[in-house]
Amino acid sequence: MAHFTKATSLHDWLNQRLAVDTLRRVLATEYWIPKNINFLWAMGMVLAITFALLLVSGIFLLMYYQPNVDLAFDSVNYTIMQEVGYGWLWRHVHGVAASVVFLIIYIHMFTGIYYGSYKKGREMIWISGMLLFVAFSAEAFSGYMLPWGQMSYWAGMVITNLFAGGSLHADGLVEWIRGDYVPAQAFLNRFFMLHVLLIPLAIIGLIGLHFGALRIPHVNNQDGEEIDFEAEAAKYKAGDKRSSKVIAFVNDFMSKDMMVVGIYLIFFFYLVFFHYDFAMDPVNFDPANGLKTPTHIYPEWYFLWSYEILRPFSTNVGLIAFAFAQVIFFLLPFLDRSPNAVPASRRGLFKYWFWAMLIDMIILTAMGKVPPVEPFGTIGFYAALTFIGLWIALPFITMFEKKA
């Protein structure tokens, strides 16, 4: 048994039992971050803070929300919005955060793609991040069901129908997922469970994995430079902070990180207080009605690009294209055949690939929002083909890339 001595302070008492000093050193004061980074490296902390906002606002919403098809709509739109003191605040924080979190996720992803932060030992960071993206998507979808408005109902109908697999006609599977022939009580209850328990648990676990995956390869930097972290850390600790290429996570990096978080939070609460409506579809303020489809069904903005890949094709081809779009980002570290882990601007054709992909996804997003009429249908069709084409081209253009 370890030897314990009479504690000289509360800190010492805890330190003997929980090694709080070691923990602090390993996780914070001697966790090294490269100096050569910019504000885009703060997106991870911005995401962590946004997740915390979702969790806290969600806890308060959970106290009044009723997962019952007859009560859900009023429990949100009347009880929480009208009766509960500051209930509107929790709802608008929750709704705005659910939308903004995807904006930050996309910025975080494209930062990783631009700087090549998914290769040379950083593959698991990318893969765990993509798993988080999928988990957040499921969380967003299940949460969207809960107010039980028209968009909730019909999004639930359309998305669960995807599991019929087109011509496979797996209607039994769809009914199994719903627990009914159509979205009804069983459906609302199980998506409520997924939203408040199972998926958040998965997200928390995946965040742990994502952070863990970062420890050995360390954070990438603006030049993709391979840093000898031990040597640079030794310099830093010896007092040569000027020539060391690294800084401590706490307080050096955190102070900058939280500065960005501060600016972000001002923007965030500006949206919550003055522009929350962008995250609240007006159609969803009509109660769910299984006998009336809204004239135009579209998902929230963050799903539009993949929805637009589904839409211009016939059912089966559309489903295959959609499935392709859902999994292909996972394979990025393996489809990129170049050993260069430097910014896209120094990577020849990949530079054009990066910007083409970004612009194509913006076009897909815009086309997913408009009704399926010409010329939008045609633009969407070619944008979807471009998306698939770019991924097919990726291994070839990176294979012949010159060593940077």
Binding site: V158, T293, R311, V373
Partner: protein
């Protein structure tokens, strides 16, 4: 060596117990997600077919799904007779022909709207179109509107029961 083989045995024994338990647990979980018997049992709707008017779309409800009932006019029935794909989709009750379909687009389940002047359906979600018998005329829907299980009973139509006319439609592939 002796110890490790004992440990090996214990590991395998635990693996066997855990494996049986895991399969059992997964089965129980799967069954818990199944539709409830009460949900499955509530599922027969009887329609009085004498109440419908020519070329006026009425939406009934069966198992929570909208059911389109469209009584065909004389000219519509004649047009349908000229096209075998159309006529075999219609249900004859008494002297009249009816289109009776599940009112969900076979693409992704939105409810198409009916335009009685053009005698056609348009699904607003992804632009699919159907004619007055529910046959698809414009993609993306992969097939015509599905026809629910039905049984003709004099002047009435029972949804949820499979009569001979419905079974024939299934065999010939008119509906799924």
């Amino acid at each position: 060596m002796k110890n490790s083989s004992r440990r090996g045995f214990m590991g395998k024994a635990f693996g066997a117990v855990a494996g049986v338990g895991a399969v059992g647990a997964l089965y129980a979980m799967k069954r818990s997600w199944d539709p409830l018997p009460s949900v499955k049992a509530a599922g027969f709707t009887t329609l009085d077919m004498s109440a419908y008017k020519d070329n006026e779309l009425i939406t009934e409800k069966w198992r929570g799904k909208p059911i389109f009932v469209l009584k065909q006019t004389k000219t519509m029935a004649e047009k349908a007779e000229a096209n075998p794909k159309d006529i075999e989709r219609l249900i004859k009750v008494g002297d009249s022909y009816f289109m009776v379909c599940i009112g969900l687009c076979t693409h992704l389940g939105c409810i198409p709207g009916y335009n009685s002047d053009e005698e056609s359906f348009l699904c607003a979600c992804h632009g699919g179109m159907y004619d007055f018998t529910g046959e698809v005329t414009k993609a993306p829907p992969p097939r015509g509107l599905d026809i629910p299980p039905f049984k003709v009973d004099g002047n009435k139509l029972v949804l949820g029961e499979e009569g001979p006319e419905y079974k024939k439609m299934k065999e010939t592939g008119v509906t799924l």
